[in-house]
Symmetry: C2
Subunit: 120 residues, 2 copies
């Protein structure tokens, strides 16, 4: 059976911040919802680009030479290997799209490294 | 340079229906915006899943044994090889995510087959 996915209903199912929840798979890629607030850590993904779509609120992504603000209804592709640090002043709801098994902290092992296999 | 993409601004740049416009690339995948109204044709994509996200309005996708209505803020993964026919009673705005070079009509060559390389 093919089922549709309602983003708002899925966001209502969890409260943790910085802990990506998988909602769908397309070939070898996954769609993950994340609630974020405050600063994440600097990291990069050596093997893949990563897409951020802001579903609710506003986030920033700091790069080495610029900071980009991304609002509701906007998206960005963070290129493979590019160091970045996401942040949000108020809690924001985002969707990530990236290959299966990508770890949230990329090349860094940290206390905020989250499991990469949590479905909701 | 890494730039963000505003979906609404991109939708304002074109009027054609059923003609996917590429707005971003992530590895070998593309993000495409499409305005749709009325009925598309039955088709399938033999080699890939395909994601539909409804950005504005409401669409339906008819499958062989069911029809699913997908509203704003909802998404669906159409599995590889599954016959489907998208439609919308009023014009709706959607985002497709699929591998580069996927053709809108899949296995069918038709007068509504659109170029698969139009960026906006």
């Amino acid at each position: 059976m093919t089922t549709k996915i309602n983003l708002k209903s899925k966001f209502d199912k969890f409260h943790e911040q910085w802990s990506p929840k998988i909602i769908a798979e397309m070939n070898d890629y996954q769609f993950k919802l994340v609630k974020i607030k405050n600063d994440f850590i600097w990291h990069q993904h050596e093997d893949t680009d990563e897409v951020f779509i802001v579903v609710e609120g506003k986030i920033g992504i700091e790069f080495e030479h610029e900071t980009i603000e991304i609002n509701e209804g906007e998206m960005i592709v963070v290129p493979k290997g590019k160091k970045h640090r996401p942040f949000a002043k108020k809690e924001a709801k985002i969707m990530l799209i990236e290959p299966k098994e990508v770890v949230n902290t990329g090349n860094i092992e940290s206390e905020i490294t989250a499991p990469s296999d949590q479905w909701i």
